[in-house]
Subunit: 101 residues, 2 copies
Amino acid sequence: MADTFDYKKIDGIFESRIRLAVLSILATSEKVEFAYLKRKLKATDGNLGAHLKKLEDAKYIKCEKKFIKRKPVSFYYLTNTGRKAIESYLSLVENLFNNAE
Amino acid sequence: MADTFDYKKIDGIFESRIRLAVLSILATSEKVEFAYLKRKLKATDGNLGAHLKKLEDAKYIKCEKKFIKRKPVSFYYLTNTGRKAIESYLSLVENLFNNAE
DNA sequence: TAGAGGGCTCTATTTTATAGAGTTATAATA
DNA sequence: TATTATAACTCTATAAAATAGAGCCCTCTA
């Protein structure tokens, strides 16, 4: 049991349910469209865009822009970094509640 | 795969690293003092008190006040509700990243 | 009933999330 | 090559939440 518990070392990206939801969707899909995420999460453009940006800045997801039927479409997908971050968070949370800290 | 993903159903209590840390400490200890939590987490009185209040309001933890060596001491411990909430969160997070949603 | 001190509440400040309007970028078409 | 259309983004303002710290309150002992 360590003397102090530096909780700020816990990945802050997961400190948000909407980002958790986005990561969950991307972890269990190939590539998904912005519009799909928006519809599924019932999120507004601005809010969803802001959270996607945070996830991109963290390099947990990437964006690929295409044109389909004359319309711009943004596809998002999980990176390896993102997948590792998810695994880390999962095992961290498991350890938090099973092991001594 | 559901049509929508109501991410607001995810327990918001866990949307905070400091609360996660408090729950973790309580889950792996019997009863702990306010001063211990404060020292261990390097938190300020006000901030720690506010988060403990949220956890108490959610009935995840309880407080027991005693006097030891003339000094007031607050002991905190996890409730059954709290333990169940932790288990739910754990399995939810596991499912989020392993199953389809 | 006065004194002491831990832990709380309260207030102010900072940070973060959210909503929605408006802009931007690109491909097809004329 | 200029125009048009539109999804997705950026930007701005608002709301909500976390944080810090000063000071109060409560219960003990003497």
